[in-house]
């Protein structure tokens, strides 16, 4: 088990984001974490990578509690982890080659020819060897994400985390990314966690799926199991229904009352 999230509670101020969440990512598998926007999927990634600590419960990465690690130990874990950010998060003042070479230069003392070989191999794997001297600002969204992927795997991590890898991509780029994620997992055996709400793409690559809603895990299992699920929440999410357990309306006072001004009068009464 690479990642083990056990009974995690997490709150920002008074707003509770997770109320007892359990998620597990097994070695060599692709774990999909799905859920409507605003359910804290990105927050979950922050918890897993130790960027923030849970209010209670624990997050284990290779059996170590990330929340209580000292920075040096945490960074040691992170060197075994690659992460792909939503928009790539390439360093804007470095070109594509240097972006991919960045972790290598920071963490190893490899000679220049070796670095070159390593970087070009990884860039070739994502099909962008020809773009090595382009600047990040010249890349399309899909290309930037592929470069970021090359950078994430350049030091051969054991765990790869994808934060919304499909957002804002055209169908072709999306197909490319799906293929790459599968490739990284099947060929290199990298344990993967994919956070997304693109149900169909995830169904194609995920071994295990979790569906989060309103602070807890409402369903889990293989994509097929999820698709067979009768649960109302799962059905609403997978089928894209506008109203259901996840309400269409944001919590608000009664519509008729508000239109008739009851609300305002009530407030004034309370103020007095």
């Amino acid at each position: 088990m690479v990642v083990d999230v056990k009974g995690v509670h997490y709150a920002v101020g008074r707003r509770e984001i997770f109320a007892g969440l359990d998620v597990v990512a097994r070695r060599g598998r692709v774990t999909a974490i799905m859920g409507p926007s605003g359910t804290g999927k990105t927050t979950l990634l922050r918890l897993i990578t130790g960027q923030t600590a849970p209010t209670s419960g624990e997050v284990l990465l290779w059996g170590q509690r990330v929340a209580t690690l000292r920075q040096r130990d945490l960074y040691a874990l992170r060197r075994r982890t690659g992460m792909l950010f939503q928009n790539g998060a390439l360093l804007t003042d470095l070109d594509v080659f240097e972006n991919v070479a960045f972790p290598v230069r920071e963490h190893t003392d490899l000679t220049e020819p070796l670095i070159r070989e390593l970087v070009l191999t990884k860039l070739h794997a994502v099909g962008l060897r020809g773009a090595a001297r382009m600047m990040p600002s010249e890349l399309s969204g899909g290309m930037a994400r592929r470069v970021a992927l090359a950078r994430a795997v350049v030091l051969d991590p054991e765990l790869l985390i994808y934060d919304e890898p499909f957002v804002g991509l055209d169908p072709i780029s999306m197909g490319v990314i799906v293929r790459l994620i599968r490739q990284m997992n099947r060929v290199l055996g990298i344990t993967s966690i994919v956070v997304s709400h693109d149900v169909h793409e995830l169904a194609a690559i995920a071994d295990d799926s979790y569906l989060l809603s309103q602070g807890r895990c409402v369903a889990s299992g293989s994509p097929e199991e999820l698709h067979r699920s009768e649960s109302e929440v799962v059905r609403q999410f997978l089928d894209g229904v506008a109203d259901g357990p996840v309400p269409f309306h944001f919590p608000a006072p009664d519509y008729r009352d508000q239109l008739l001004g009851v609300d305002r009068r009530a407030q004034r009464g309370r103020a007095a």
Partner: protein
Amino acid sequence: MSSAASRDGLLTGALRRVGAVAVFFVAVLAQCVPALARPRLIVHQVYNAGARSLIIIMLCGLFVGMVLGLQGFDLLQRFGSEDALGVAAALGLLKELGPVVTALLFAGRAGTALTSEIGLMRATDQLTAMQMMAVDPMQRIVAPRFIGGVIAMPLLVAIFNLVGLFGAQLVGVQMMDVDAGAFWSQMQGAVQLNDVQEGFIKSVVFGTACSLIAVHEGYHTEPTAAGVGLATTRTVVTSSVLTLLLDYILTAAFL
């Protein structure tokens, strides 16, 4: 951060900010030692903060010097002492105008560039990405920029002073016919090494303060486009006020 800050009153808010900057200062200083092991990164930042500000510093130095020459001449000739123009210009530049004007320009030119650069890195997840690559952005990004600023400032001030003296000389000697010999010899007679030292210490302190504010605001930028703009504005305002405040304190301390 802002949501938390808005909870505080004006006084507690200000207090919190001072505290945050102080804590950040210590954190940056702690990272300066490992950062010094990579001089190439620092060279890059000395270039960004210093060499790129050179033109504007020299231009402003020239004009400030020329104004000093003009005003000083007008004032001194009323006492028939226009020969003292050199002293007046040199002391004015060395002790006050050089460090202060350079610091204000530095805040506007290099400080804002630093803040928006780091702020954009924050807004586009570059800093987080670095942390995820097990690279400490405090050490890789913040510390070299801070050190670069601290190194660049005294050099910029020295250049500003020199160009300013040239400007004062240009107006005083070339245009107003103050005697060149009197201009320089009186200057050399009256200016003490202490005066130069005072200006130098001021420039180092201002460089530290302005660089610190710039990287602090950048590092704690609200990760949005509006946040970057706001942080940049705050850098200029805070650096300027802090510079003038420190200037008073230092001047009082030296007297």
